[in-house]
């Protein structure tokens, strides 16, 4: 990828993300209001325009920035300063490997809608995600506050624990796709398989029976690995420390946990980090399990080839690109909504329940999934050989 397109991409996704984060505050408010059967986020107004409460994010930002930034005595000043940034940065960086579209040719240029199409894309996200732990745990320690310390201990234990399940739960998916590269995963998920193909294979119905060719299923990760989808989602949400996994904050127990000593925009950064991570989680799940930017049963190449006679090759590519981004966004929004649904419908787990879920349920299930997937792959290979 040439340097200019890299910058274009960086600009694009930064814009999207930074726009998303404030909007998320509104989404959260609206969602909770809806679920709790009340009217939410409708007071802020500019000249009487309330715009469904969309002004609220703006008000939030102003409030955050203008608030006094307190630094407690006895705090480790440097760490107290950098911790919020360490917390936010990984979330933003990990978006770099998530593709929100394929590669398109227009007017002689290659446009790839993925900033860094790395060979070890998912691993990169895991690695960067593991750094995020520091942002939270140092925050609690740096503030010289015992509630914060407790929060730090909780957060470090929780995040280390769930990283294990996080990594292992998707091993089965890697085994099936044979790649860690997210763009490749997207392309592979365009393919379909015939649900009843095995009937023909074993000779239980005649070769070339028409209805067998009609009933096809897209090879989405969700279809191939339904259980890991939910395990991965759970582990990611636990990593994100939002309800119901918000024991490190636990305002009823340890006041606000690790960010107890933060105010103003530093506090805002933690909030932002969480919301951005909600988006990243949705994007990652979309790329890995929901076919990424592609439509089911309709490969991108065929869209372009249908449209080329109508509008010319360049414009066909542009149209496909726009379509891809929209498809991706819709899937992401659905998943964001799903996460909000969970966040507002579940009470907080007790701390030991969190640990039990990670070590005693997710980890064994993930390991079992690896073994079962391996067996399945062997069987399929054996049968189709």
């Amino acid at each position: 990828m040439e340097t200019p397109t890299v910058f274009v991409s960086i600009f694009l996704f930064a814009l999207v993300l930074l726009v998303f984060a404030p909007i998320m505050t509104w989404v959260e408010r609206k969602q909770s209001a809806l679920m709790q059967d009340r009217i939410g986020a409708n007071r802020a107004s500019i000249l009487g325009f309330k715009a469904l409460g969309l002004i609220h994010p703006l008000a939030d930002v102003i409030k955050m920035i203008t608030k006094e930034d307190t630094i407690p005595t006895g705090a480790h000043k440097l760490l107290h300063l950098v911790s919020p940034f360490i917390a936010v940065a990984p979330a933003i960086i990990s978006f770099a490997v998530i593709p929100y579209g394929g590669t398109y040719e227009m007017w002689g240029a290659h446009v790839s809608l993925c900033v860094a199409d790395l060979d070890y894309g998912v691993l990169f996200i895991f690695a960067i995600g593991s750094i995020a732990t520091y942002g939270s745990m140092l925050a609690g320690w740096a503030g010289n506050n015992n509630w914060g310390m407790l929060g730090s201990i909780r957060v470090s234990a929780q995040m280390i624990s769930y990283e294990v399940a996080l990594g292992i739960s998707v091993v089965g998916l890697f085994m099936i796709f044979g790649t860690l590269r997210l763009t490749e995963m997207g392309l592979l998920q365009q393919e379909t398989f015939r649900l009843f193909g095995f009937l023909e294979h074993f000779g239980w119905v005649a070769q070339g029976t028409a209805w067998i060719d009609w009933i096809t299923i897209p090879m989405w990760g969700l279809v191939l690995q339904p259980l890991p989808f939910f395990m991965f989602l759970t582990a990611l949400m636990a990593e994100n420390k939002r309800a119901p996994f918000d024991t490190p904050e636990g305002e009823s127990e340890i006041v606000a946990g690790y960010f107890i000593e933060y105010s103003g925009m530093k506090f805002g950064l933690y909030m932002m980090g969480e919301w951005i991570e909600v988006v990243v989680i949705s994007a990652l799940l979309t790329a890995m399990f929901l076919g990424g930017w592609t439509l089911p049963w309709l490969p991108e190449a065929s869209i372009i080839s249908y449209m080329t006679p109508l509008v010319g090759e360049n414009m066909a590519n542009v149209a496909a690109m726009v379509l891809a981004v929209h498809v991706f966004l819709i899937k992401v929004i659905v998943l964001i909504w799903f996460q909000m649904l969970i966040r507002w419908s579940m009470p907080r787990f007790r701390y030991d329940q969190v640990m039990d879920l990670g070590w005693k349920i997710l980890l064994p299930l993930s390991l079992a999934n690896v073994v079962i997937t391996g067996l399945g792959i062997l069987i399929v290979q054996e049968v189709t050989r």
Binding site: L79, D119, Y120, L123, F124, F126, A127, I128, G129, S130, I131, T133, Y134, M137, L138, W141, M149, S152, I153, S156, A157, M159, I160, E163, G167, L180
Partner: protein
């Protein structure tokens, strides 16, 4: 670009390693220096075409091991040294280790007297695929043994850290 990266990474790795040892105030500071050192080393690994190992370095060392260190330090609520007397050992040991230090550098110098330039490696070198294939074919036994070791480690850690001996 690579040359510059090498210098950036190696200098920060060595400097933060010194920070680990030289920071007498608090083990937390040492741990943070260690993270920086680990991350810089990961960068060096990637420069050496060992992307997979570099990522694992970040995940395992920076993401888990040092977090564990921090976790333990916080759990034991140790702010400051927690040791009695002077933090540093008697000067004799320092002198001794400096002797070793010097002799090791000398060894490296002698060994590196005539080094061939970098050979070309194929595109797959150090990628996840290459490592996975090697690990699960030629070194599958080592992987199994490592798995058993991990299991033993888990059990040992749980038994050791258990509060009550029942």
């Amino acid at each position: 670009m690579r040359t510059a990266l090498f210098w950036v990474f190696s200098i920060s790795a060595v400097a933060s390693a010194l920070g680990v040892v030289g920071n007498l105030r608090s083990p937390i500071n040492s741990a943070l220096s260690l993270v920086v050192s680990m991350l810089a080393l990961a960068g060096l690994y990637v420069l050496l075409e060992a992307q997979f190992v570099g990522l694992i370095q970040v995940m395992v060392y920076a993401g888990a091991i040092v977090v564990l260190f921090l976790f333990v330090i916080m759990l034991l609520n140790l702010r400051g040294s927690g040791t009695r007397g002077a933090e540093l050992q008697p000067i004799m040991k320092a002198i001794g280790s400096l002797v070793v230090f010097g002799s090791t550098l000398w060894l490296v110098r002698t060994l590196a007297a005539d080094r061939a330039p970098w050979p070309d490696v194929d595109a797959g070198f150090g990628t996840t695929r290459a490592m996975g294939e090697a690990l699960y074919t030629d070194y599958v036994l080592s992987v199994q043994v490592a798995g058993v070791l991990l299991l033993a480690g888990i059990v040992a850690a749980v038994v050791l850290a258990k509060k009550k001996v029942d």
